[in-house]
């Protein structure tokens, strides 16, 4: 199926377009920057960068790209430690470090792995099934865009109290969402966590980790280079997904039909994503893409500005060529849409036909949007009229950076002093009662009521999964080369002492990988916290990053990538600081892995360590 222009009827797509020229002429037009989440100083900065007021489309781009979620504006100054505290020795196995879609680690024999953990917390609270499902979808696209075949997923989860009336909705929805999407993609689920604690009641944590494998020569980066190369958008059509409240931008359309409602939730289509995986792998194999970028949060805004600023610096795009699911979308909304299962690639003109043939084979829709230029500008047109003219770096990289104030909470001393002072358990009866109480805790009991809803066999390379402490997958069938991964976090430890809590999370994941017999090589992390505008939360965050960076240095493993999720709080109450740490290790032969647990009678038991 070859579709090069939108099927939407032309008359439905005529908006009263806020062009760059119009913006220059009408400096005083009121813009809904506050409703789009920009602070006044941020809006002023945009005006300063452009030397005029932004157009509606530019405003859409800056507002989504400068959001906390996309710009890391509160966390950036701290995260720098992950780079600063890395030694050359730690970088030995690193092929791609922090900053790309996911880090890439050399595991020998020309093989590499890429892995990353990300959060989808808030969407999963609003719509548990779809929120969790699209969380898996998003992290898997990060892995594909590095040039890798995804081979496994993991899902560290945190829920509120198990007996709270809202918990079943969240647990069942989220677990079936992760299973529904992951199982349909054919990715074995090789581990995760389930923790119930009332502190997560209004803010469940849904973190998803994906791991992919590739040959060294297959690494792909998200950049648009080669003047004259073509930019193509492929996969699902663009709808109003994820725009929700931001539909204030509808005000840019004065004479169009009333736009339909904009859904705040995204619905995942795992079948479309499975096809996207296979079709991308075929593109890589045929070497027909120069650069590639997945579309996640901030959709086309993010993909165009990041591709352009990581490459030769210029790109020219015609937005009316985007294939739409909802023809009433305005240009700004198209730029912001978070529709799932889409990718953007840069292709040389010579490879265009080969690219199209692969799309046709997999029945994937695509549209050519524009080309790479050497102007240093990202120019986006709507029906030939210029609606965006920006330096892409100012959108993608030069967002605001905050040094938010932080201080140690005053209540912490009292909390730390409040140690257990109950009776020591000496007699059999009290010990028995204590053991039973422990065993019946939802956090201690078997998780197979959850893990049995996940496929751990598919792909035939899973050497360890539940109930073991780390998941192990084989990478090379010939040699048995493979990797082990574990994710761990303990919010209660971090609440008591965020610096030590982060170190302990790393130590636990590191141990879980090491005890399978693998050599730990690299770290990914998802830092789940409350509001950065609360100085106490900000202190927890700063201490966590400092602890994790220090511990990484001591153990000699680098952080290769990760994700920060802030504003996990309801009312004034933040969640416990929850740094989920994933460690990846390598085996030269997974046949030598050691499972956890005692398997056979008569074996001797040793206790090692402190």
């Amino acid at each position: 199926m070859t579709i090069n222009s939108s099927s939407a009827p032309a008359e439905a797509r005529k908006f009263n377009i806020d062009t760059v020229a119009h913006a220059a002429e009408t400096p005083d037009v009121e813009l809904p920057w506050a409703a789009l989440g920009l602070k006044e100083n941020e809006f002023d900065r945009v005006v300063e960068i452009l030397g005029r007021r932004p157009t509606a489309a530019e405003l859409a781009m800056y507002s989504v790209m400068w959001s906390e979620h996309c710009s890391y504006k509160s966390s950036k100054v701290h995260l720098a430690q992950f780079g600063d505290k890395v030694t050359d020795a730690m970088k030995e196995h690193l092929l791609v470090g922090i900053g790309e879609n996911a880090g890439v680690v050399d595991i020998g024999d020309g093989w590499a792995v890429t892995f990353k953990v990300e959060s989808h917390n808030h969407p999963s609270f609003v719509e548990p099934y779809q929120g969790a499902a699209t969380g898996v979808g998003g992290i898997v696209r990060d892995i594909i865009s590095m040039g890798a075949r995804p081979v496994a997923i993991m899902d560290p989860l945190r829920f509120g109290a198990i007996d709270h009336p809202d918990t079943p909705r969240l647990v069942h929805g989220i677990v079936s969402g992760i299973g529904g999407y992951g199982n349909s993609l054919g990715l074995p689920n090789i581990g995760g966590e389930v923790v119930f604690d009332s502190v997560y009641q209004g803010n469940p944590l849904v973190n998803a980790l994906a791991v992919g494998v590739l040959r060294h020569e297959d690494i792909r980066l998200a950049n648009a280079s080669g003047v004259g190369n073509k930019v193509v958008l492929f996969g699902a059509r663009t709808g109003g997904d994820g725009i929700g409240g931001a539909s204030v931008l509808a005000s840019e359309s004065f004479d169009a039909d009333k736009p339909s409602k904009r859904p705040a939730v995204q619905v995942g289509d795992p079948f479309a994503e499975k096809v996207l995986i296979e079709c991308c792998l075929e593109l890589f194999k045929a070497s027909v893409v120069e650069g590639i970028q997945d579309l996640g949060a901030a959709g086309i805004s993010c993909a165009t500005s990041e591709l352009a600023s990581n490459g030769d610096g210029g790109m020219h795009v015609e937005l009316t060529d985007v294939l739409l699911r909802d023809p009433s979308l305005t240009p700004g909304e198209i730029l912001m849409s978070e529709s799932q299962e889409r990718m953007m690639a840069v292709v040389t003109p010579a490879n265009a036909a080969a690219f199209e043939a692969i799309m046709d084979k997999w029945n994937v829709e695509y549209s050519w949007l524009g080309e790479v230029t050497d102007t240093g500008r990202l120019i986006i047109e709507w029906d030939g009229e210029k609606i965006v003219d920006v330096d892409p770096r100012t959108v993608a990289h030069d967002g605001p950076v905050y040094h938010r104030p932080f201080h140690r909470p005053e209540w912490l001393d009292a909390l730390q002093e409040n140690t257990f002072d109950g009776d020591r358990l000496t007699d059999g009866d009290s010990l028995r009662a204590a053991v039973l109480e422990l065993m019946s805790s939802p956090n201690m009991c078997s998780k197979d009521w959850i893990t049995n809803q996940y496929d751990r066999f598919v792909q035939g390379n899973t050497a360890l999964a539940m109930p073991d402490d780390a998941g192990v997958v084989r990478v090379d069938e010939e040699t048995g080369l493979g990797v082990a991964i574990s994710t761990d976090a303990n919010g209660r430890y971090s609440y008591l002492n965020p610096y030590e809590g982060a170190r302990l999370a790393l130590a636990e994941a590191y141990r879980n990988v090491a005890t399978t017999g693998a050599k730990p090589l690299a770290v990914t992390d998802c830092l789940n916290f409350g509001s950065p505008e609360d100085p106490e939360v900000m202190w927890q965050f700063a201490e966590t990053v400092r602890g994790l960076a220090d511990a990484c240095q001591e153990l000699g493993v680098p952080v290769t990538g990760g994700n920060v999720s802030l504003y996990n709080q309801t009312g004034g109450v933040p969640i416990h600081p929850t740094p989920v740490v994933g460690v990846l290790g390598v085996f030269d032969d997974v046949a030598r892995r050691t499972p956890s647990g005692w398997r056979d009678d008569g074996q001797a038991i040793y206790l090692l360590g402190a």
Binding site: S184, G186, K274, N452, V458, G460, T462, L464
Partner: protein, 251 residues
């Protein structure tokens, strides 16, 4: 299980088994691996092609062939290659052996190569676990390496695995010995009469919901075997399904 051909006999690897890939197939590479480990030659087949490439047998593997949002197998049954398979599988004496696993089984029922259908599991959840089965019929193209009554353990993993058919069909299947696999122990999904797999009247077409291709390689299979203790993920009880067809065809 012997996979090496005795001296002088044609080698098992001369047997070419086609593995069908639909856009949403997931266990196709696993099925190909199973054929290789059993000693045969796996031949990838694309759903959109019209040519069976002269293969000696076909496996329709697990997955979500077209997303399966409508009904598992509902859309894939119309694939061009399925027409070829349906014709070849119905070809009397020299009919093509066809195995449908999980989604493949669903495709074969939608294509009317096998009776009945699969609906949602009675507990409505996706269920992944090691599953004990009894081989009820060891005379089909895909079960000759076993003896009737043998038990095997292979992984089960699906959401729409509840086998249903009307009573007459069920009686017919039982009467003609076409119930090939039956669940042992607790019924995992509500399937009528504990049926896990069935065959057509000629015995060349077999479908089953559990996944024998995930119990063929020690270290990557289920944690148990019907034959007794195994190492970690050491179950390989499913291999016999694939050696069955290879041995039959090499003769």
């Amino acid at each position: 299980m012997e996979t090496d051909a005795p001296f002088g006999a044609p080698a098992l690897d001369s047997v070419r088994v086609g593995i069908v890939t639909f856009p949403g197939s997931l266990d196709d590479r696993d099925a190909a691996r199973a054929i290789r480990l059993a000693g045969g030659t796996a031949v990838p087949l694309w759903h959109g092609d019209h040519d069976l490439q002269g293969v000696d047998a076909v496996v329709v593997p697990g997955g979500f062939s077209y997303g399966d949002y409508l009904r598992a197998g509902a859309i894939s049954r119309f694939a061009p290659l399925m027409e070829q398979i349906t014709a070849a599988a119905s070809g009397g004496e020299r009919a093509l052996p066809v195995l449908g696993i999980c989604n493949g089984f669903q495709v074969l029922t939608e294509a009317h190569l096998l009776p009945g259908s699969m609906i949602k599991n009675n507990h409505l959840h996706f269920l992944c676990r090691d599953q004990r089965l009894r081989v009820e019929n060891a005379d089909t193209a895909w079960t000759a390496s076993y003896a009737a009554g043998d038990e095997i353990v292979v992984p089960l993993k699906n959401q729409d695995g509840q086998f249903v058919a009307d009573e007459r069909t069920l009686d017919e299947l039982e009467g003609e010995g076409r119930v090939v696999f039956r669940y042992v122990g607790a019924n995992p999904n509500g399937s009528r009469r504990d049926i896990a797999g069935i065959s057509n009247a000629a015995g060349n077409v077999v479908g089953l919901m559990p996944h024998p291709e995930h119990a063929v390689e020690a270290g990557f299979g289920p944690d148990s075997s019907a034959a007794g203790l195994v190492g970690v993920r050491g179950g390989t009880d499913g291999l016999g399904i694939f050696t069955s067809v290879l041995k039959k065809l090499v003769k």
